[in-house]
């Protein structure tokens, strides 16, 4: 290699390192320019510490994973759906109607679906869209009401026939589920989607309760007793985790060396507080102009 090509190599390589890093920083800066597009005050219920599956011992970093739920269609909740062979599809949502899926760009025919349509739907892949996250809103209230109604119903059945052990077990499980829904489960629900984030911002302008973020949806086939239909499925968020900077680490434990492993040891990482306990921390998460999240503030919550 002569001197000239040596210099070209040196300059090109360093330029590549500098340009790539500057591009990333500019993107981050642009995203975090105030005001934030959305901001939600979440707790341990919605944000649980997580660790990479293979590196939990080695990884000293700490990330929090968004626990976003999707309310199943009326009377098609998880337990009943499976029990009654209703063709329950994980992540299926009542608001993801055929019309909504079409408006999101999925090529679905408007007439009675044929077997050819089914084949086409089964081939469709998830789409990147903007979704609305609702915190402690109508969807959560409905989930809570359903769980409490089920608990009351199962307890009444158990009281009516005290000798039936199965009914007693069902009543206990339903009561635990209702308690978990009251104190433990995430109150963050995905409730709508669109290709235009501005339209969503206008429709859901109550900032403390709604956030507009990137997520994925997909049509899926729900089948029961030989009959099938197309349902909409919420797949998840494009950025499902948020990194905890060192500044906020003490909130998740006294030690600055607090890691995922330590979080698990303390009973925080990988598992929620027990259903009777109050959340142990609250975190203000903002989403910026590129719909990328970051932690704005974090504080321990009074027990």
């Amino acid at each position: 290699m002569n001197l000239r090509s040596h210099r070209v190599f040196l300059v090109s390589g360093l330029l590549l390192v500098v340009v790539a890093n500057v591009a990333v920083f500019l993107g981050v800066r642009f995203n975090r320019q105030p005001p934030a597009v959305s901001a939600l005050l979440l707790t341990e219920r919605e944000l649980a510490p997580t660790g990479s599956w293979s590196l939990s011992q080695e990884d000293s970093g700490l990330s929090l994973r968004f626990d976003v739920r999707s309310l199943p269609p009326e009377s098609e909740n998880y337990d009943e759906g499976w029990a009654n062979e209703r063709g329950f599809v994980w992540g299926s949502a009542p608001w993801l109607t055929l019309e909504k899926l079409r408006s999101l760009g999925f090529p679905l025919s408007s007439g009675e679906p044929t077997d050819d349509d089914r084949r086409r739907v089964e081939k469709l892949l998830p789409k990147d869209v903007f979704v609305v996250l609702e915190l402690n809103g109508n969807s959560y209230q409905r989930a809570l009401r359903d769980a409490q109604d089920r608990a009351v119903r199962d307890e009444q059945r158990a009281q009516a026939d005290p000798n039936d052990k199965n009914l007693a077990v069902s009543a206990r499980i339903s009561r635990e589920s209702a308690d978990a829904e009251q104190n433990q489960n995430s109150r963050l629900f995905c409730i709508d989607a669109d290709l235009d984030p501005v339209a969503l911002s206008k429709a859901y302008s109550d900032r403390p309760h709604y956030a507009i973020v990137r997520g994925t949806v997909q049509p899926a086939i729900s089948q029961k007793s030989g009959h099938w239909r197309i349902v909409g499925q919420f797949f998840g968020l494009r950025i499902p985790e948020v990194n905890v900077p060192l500044t906020y680490r003490p909130v998740f434990g006294a030690s600055r060396r607090h890691s995922y492993t330590e979080a698990v040891a303390r009973g925080i990482g990988g598992q929620m507080a027990s259903s009777k306990e109050a959340p142990r921390y609250s975190v203000m998460v903002a989403w910026g102009r590129r719909f990328e999240p970051w932690i704005v503030a974090a504080s321990p919550q009074a027990q």
Binding site: V17, A20, E58, N243
Partner: protein, 364 residues
Amino acid sequence: LELPDADGGGNTRQDAQRRVDVIEAFQTELKELEKAGVLLLSPAQRRVVEAHHAATIARLKSAFDVDRDARSKQLSLGMRVSSFLGALAFAASVFFLFYQYWGRLGTSAQVSILVCSSAVSFLMTVLIRTRDSTGYFTKLAALVAFACFVLNISMFGQIFNITPSDKALLVWGAMAILLAYACDLRLMLAVGLLCVLGFASARFGEWAGLYWLDFGRRPENIFPAALLILAVPRLMSHRRFGGFASTYRLIGVLAVLLPVLALSFWGQGSYLDWEPTTIEHSYQIIGFAASAAVIWAGARWNWPETTNTGVAFFVIFLFTKFYDWWWETMPKYLFFLLLGLTALLALVVLRRLRRSMPSLESSR
């Protein structure tokens, strides 16, 4: 095939090594000719030839660190393997070192360490490149520099919660290809081509309406990029870079045949709006035709890596079809007999193909 020039040994280590091998073969053959009394050099002629060869070999050895004999070649192979494994281990060590401590650092420290590790490891590679005639240490340093750069960009994504982007593949590919051409490293070229292949496939997928991370779920996204990679050695001369043209061809051929193989079993993964079984059968036929075309092209232009890849895929397509057709219905002895007979048939066909090809000398 490029042979080294009369006394220079060409531009690459491979050319220089070929030149040394030719000299060694000449010396062995000369001894045989002298023993048979066919050719006898006078002592003066012998001294001139030997001095010329010794000077040529000494020059090539100092410039390219070529192997003088078979034992030296074996040791070189060991060094190549050792340098590759060492490079992988160093790269993994850098990765785990950062993961072990990054959670204990503030964001500014994390960013500074990542940027500095990229820049410093690259500068180290440049420095080592100027002092290392063998190339083994350069390969090691280059792979570490690449690992640092990948870690730099990917960790920024994690630290700042950035949406995953296919553009990362482009900058990683650019860095790998830069290191490959500057340090004459085929391994880095292959890594760079895989990154570029991933980026281009993701772009094609995005144009077709997919989210970029799903590009692998439609293997046809890979075809355009594969064809572009195959075209590069036809459009750009790589005479100065030993083995680069063959690396392009190998990656290009694999990027065509692997998706065809996948689609021949997984019609659901195709863009085509046909019945999955129709798609699978179509890709099975395409697989046979494409492998045969690759074998032909490899034999026609004397690209051994292309021929071997084509033969391997032809056999895979054939055996998987045999399995589909006959494994359940045929007695096992008959099934394996059929496989053996097919292998024999392939040998006969390849031998005929070899005979029908013009020899290297006559084609020159």
